[in-house]
Symmetry: C3
Subunit: 405 residues, 3 copies
Amino acid sequence: AQSSVTLFGIVDATIAHGRASGTGAANKTALANSGYNSSRIGFRGTEDLGGGMAASFWLEGSLGNDDGTAGQRIPVGNQNVLNGASPTNPNGVGDGAGLVFNRRSTVSLSGGWGEVRLGRDYTPSFWNLTVFDPFGTNGVGTTLTLVGPAGGLGTAGNAMAPVGTRGVIVRASNDIGYFLPANLGGFYGQFNYWLGENTFNGANSARDGTGWGGRLGYGAGPFNVAISYARTAYDATPVNPVQPITTTNTFTGAVAPTAAQIAAQRAGDFRTWNIGGQWDFGVAKVMGHYTREQRDSSAGNAGTGIPASGEIDGRGWLLGTLVPVGAGEIRASYSTYKIDAGAGADPRARQLALGYVHNLSKRTALYATAARVQNRNGAAVSLNGATLGTATSSTGYDLGIRHSF
Amino acid sequence: AQSSVTLFGIVDATIAHGRASGTGAANKTALANSGYNSSRIGFRGTEDLGGGMAASFWLEGSLGNDDGTAGQRIPVGNQNVLNGASPTNPNGVGDGAGLVFNRRSTVSLSGGWGEVRLGRDYTPSFWNLTVFDPFGTNGVGTTLTLVGPAGGLGTAGNAMAPVGTRGVIVRASNDIGYFLPANLGGFYGQFNYWLGENTFNGANSARDGTGWGGRLGYGAGPFNVAISYARTAYDATPVNPVQPITTTNTFTGAVAPTAAQIAAQRAGDFRTWNIGGQWDFGVAKVMGHYTREQRDSSAGNAGTGIPASGEIDGRGWLLGTLVPVGAGEIRASYSTYKIDAGAGADPRARQLALGYVHNLSKRTALYATAARVQNRNGAAVSLNGATLGTATSSTGYDLGIRHSF
Amino acid sequence: AQSSVTLFGIVDATIAHGRASGTGAANKTALANSGYNSSRIGFRGTEDLGGGMAASFWLEGSLGNDDGTAGQRIPVGNQNVLNGASPTNPNGVGDGAGLVFNRRSTVSLSGGWGEVRLGRDYTPSFWNLTVFDPFGTNGVGTTLTLVGPAGGLGTAGNAMAPVGTRGVIVRASNDIGYFLPANLGGFYGQFNYWLGENTFNGANSARDGTGWGGRLGYGAGPFNVAISYARTAYDATPVNPVQPITTTNTFTGAVAPTAAQIAAQRAGDFRTWNIGGQWDFGVAKVMGHYTREQRDSSAGNAGTGIPASGEIDGRGWLLGTLVPVGAGEIRASYSTYKIDAGAGADPRARQLALGYVHNLSKRTALYATAARVQNRNGAAVSLNGATLGTATSSTGYDLGIRHSF
């Protein structure tokens, strides 16, 4: 077995400063990572099988190059359960615990008919948010249309995503994906199905954490547009809630979660659809996208601050531009997200971001970004680690270097 | 220091389905890994020192490519204590916490006299189980002669291995190994000694977790046969039980395990010997092995479900074949394991496995496997995550792709 | 982006034996790592940007090749808080949890004006201790001038370093470093500033965990000398003590540390300065260094065994030699460290170390080291894991192999 592996990665370091004002506000300065591109390290390769067929693999993990950490928590079953989680350690292990291939971990078989890809991969619905964001969903300028569904808009906004950020928003584990071939006259597309890996029988279902989605796009000349849809099932009363977070304690035997812990797991199905597009005018690329998320709710979620019944709706949009300037590029965007959480005030936030990237080479760039977010109705988005005060706005700055290999 | 490293690995993904029947049974479908070969990623290299001498290293870790996790819990001292374990976290860290070189981590010096190898490596007694298993101890067809000693035959079967699967069955840490040179007319062999790394003095011993073993074989033409033996000491009343699982808590000082935790650590010495062989008839390879395990028991183990006194015996055997078919290979095996746990019923299980591997290239293969296990006398082996019901059998299927690099 | 990565590392395995005598003493034998050089695995590369400019990266992590573990706890904010730490898991994750780049994780931009380096890196004050130690601060012969400040001299000595070994002694995270260019006629130097990454506002400060340091040296012909200084702020009453060790428990919400936990975090500022030098006589290199550490103390530290007020002083020195002998090298050193902890006895220790390294090639070496330490006034340094008895001395031996790639 001859070896043919490409070792690749990105080391992106940024001096990240966040500000807020009003009573209780606090600022923060950090040497952080991923201000322009996500820091990462990975291994990938392709084998030509002949007859137009190829086999390939891709293993890519997060990198915290500011402090040397690596890895990130992974919801291995796509449910609200993270790798290493147990009743006594519900947050699992990850963030800094060590290198895992949380960004992508796949094996593929491809040919003239397209590609079948197995493993952990991006959801089809994430692509429109990142491809059609001038800041590529990285750094202080990250579009609110990702911050909103994934991290919520603060306390009230947590109602949007299933139990914090554990829902299948950006990536899915145990994914079976099919990708259209490249030669379809500009059309591109993918379909994905991800497994929750529950036990099931006649009375039970296997749906908790299971989902599917697709994306279809068309790009030709200066024009590119795509739509996508994805949904993941989160049982309001999980069939197997105890199983994934029960841990076998060597000394005391199996530890079952408490009723409160089971209740906290309950979360309604999560659906998202979006559309994004871009036109390259030469002097500038103009891009935008619109996204809408829906989450079923139920009485079982009451303890988590989620309305007792009905549906939670979130929607947002972005308009942005990339303007080439010599060896560099100016980046600008306006993004907004709003959550309709039922009765009461609907939290919303809007953000303006402006930045410049100066390329020292294809691999190395210096960059500066500034962004300002304004919150309304209880939304609590803050930038670069600032603590919001009575004034509801926050300003953040990135000044960094991106080096890829 | 010129660099000469080979980066290698295997990415093996399988759609794994497990079934069971009867009251209480539950099925499961997962995108899993390692259905044909163990998924892994590693780094290795060899330096020619001249005069027939060479220095080499081998670092290889587990890979959960279905969800991007890496790493596995390691019993760093070969006792019943895992890396990162503490009284409040007795399961330690590992499984998915991040890349570790749990599969093999060695440095070697070799010459005409053989090889001295230091670090974490396979035990000599594991080789006969995996080399003479048509399924290579991977996937749904894994021989019961490994499942039995390592994971037990379910509840009653846990009596076989020292406290679950933590015993030195497949690998040992802190191992000092000697391997015979290759030019002995078909004879091959190895001797290993692994350290428990306990403190000791006149009154104490250093034996807990310490062990040794050896393997001797002969292969010529179509014929190959080998015998092996290994034993690891697990003190019935460990001399230093508190030390390895005491953790220093910054805020509260050292935390000592409870009496129950100490008791649960107690486990008798574990011994295994086996013999395996193979004959290549050309149209088919026929292989088989027989294995026997013995574990000392004591009253101190009563709380763990282990009989109050006496010895626990396990024994099993496998008969299997590999039949080349064009670019592929048919695999089949029958394996069985039985535990004599003293008074009462002796749990036993038997399994039939059948599979086909289709090689797309030397590096890439598609495969399908089916297996069915039947349990008797309280044995509770289930396949691919199924939950056994009142019927005591389970069926499992793998359908996957293996890509090596 | 063309890839150009060097994969490098060291696999160093040693049979490590430690002895002590007197009542309560215990010996230990282990297969350990890093007896000659620190075991490691890393990735690094440099890109020529033209005009004398270059961009580069360096990612290097610890390796426990005796048992396959990798990684180490990282104080990500340079405070007394480790990665993954929480009130219920104050020791965080690391040691064996998985590969992290705890040894070095940086991205650099360099030119004729020097180098700017961002990330996790060595402190400027560590270099004189390791460069001017014949044993390079590795193995049983490691100079007490590092053992003293970093690990203390046992119980009493823990007063020296901020809460155990978590202080910024060897490395700092979130570091911004500047290095002088190489062409200054023998002068070399660096200046570093590391961030604690606290939130702050008008009333608060961001100093907890923040520090700076510098090193200036001159090397020409056989002569080399350097001085360094470093200091890190540890607030006696941390402004944000709760924030870094509060964890968000999915099921129970945020968990705040107790008052005792907050108190235990309190630690005074830590300062160090040292000077080291070497003369190469040809037949032997003679080297030495002197170091002094100071730590502010306060009443808040009373619970941790630190004197209620005043300052703690530590100081030590080393004298050593390296004597080339054919393909090998004899190494010898005498080192001592003493802590003035206020009223009462001042713990002190002294050590004699002797070793031989035999190079099989540039990359591979065999080595043997013996060391003996003598403790006074409650100091409790033991070698290679021995447990001190009523006699206060300990002896340790390393016998190993170092292979680099």
